[in-house]
Amino acid sequence: MMNTGYKTCNVDTCAERRRLLQEIGKVDFVLKELNLYLDTHPYDQQAMDAFKHYNMAKNKMVKEYTEKYGPLVLSIVDTDCGEWKWATQDWPWEGGYH
């Protein structure tokens, strides 16, 4: 039962893209955990400092990803390249870059 749903891409850029997406997922996961932790520990300054650190790291990586491969969020999107990549590129459930 082999699956043929994945689109082919250049091996090197594909691996790099996957790595960067994995890093973004990891940092965003830390942010989500700190978010829930802070909801029940709202006066933990150290957790807030950590949140600030990872939030800046995530924003930097999302910017890099958007410049190199395509948009992840509509707040950071390239509108000068003549292509609305938000819609033309694969959607995440296709599993292509994960």
Binding site: G25, V27, F29, V30, Y37, H41
Partner: protein
């Protein structure tokens, strides 16, 4: 993050006939965040993996 202790002395404040979960005692994060992501939590204390048997 360090230990979160201030809540510990308030044991007498818990009325009966209610459900409580103990405060998370150790709020340190995993050193290796890749491992944390794979595990599903950044707090070692909350890592309680499935140890049941799988169909053969």
């Amino acid at each position: 993050m360090q230990e979160w202790k201030p809540q510990m002395p308030y044991m007498e404040q818990f009325p009966a006939a209610m459900a409580y979960v103990p405060w998370q005692r150790n709020c340190n994060m995993y050193e290796n965040l890749d491992e944390a992501y794979k595990t599903g939590t950044i707090f070692p204390e909350l890592n309680k993996p499935f140890t049941g048997r799988r169909v053969q």
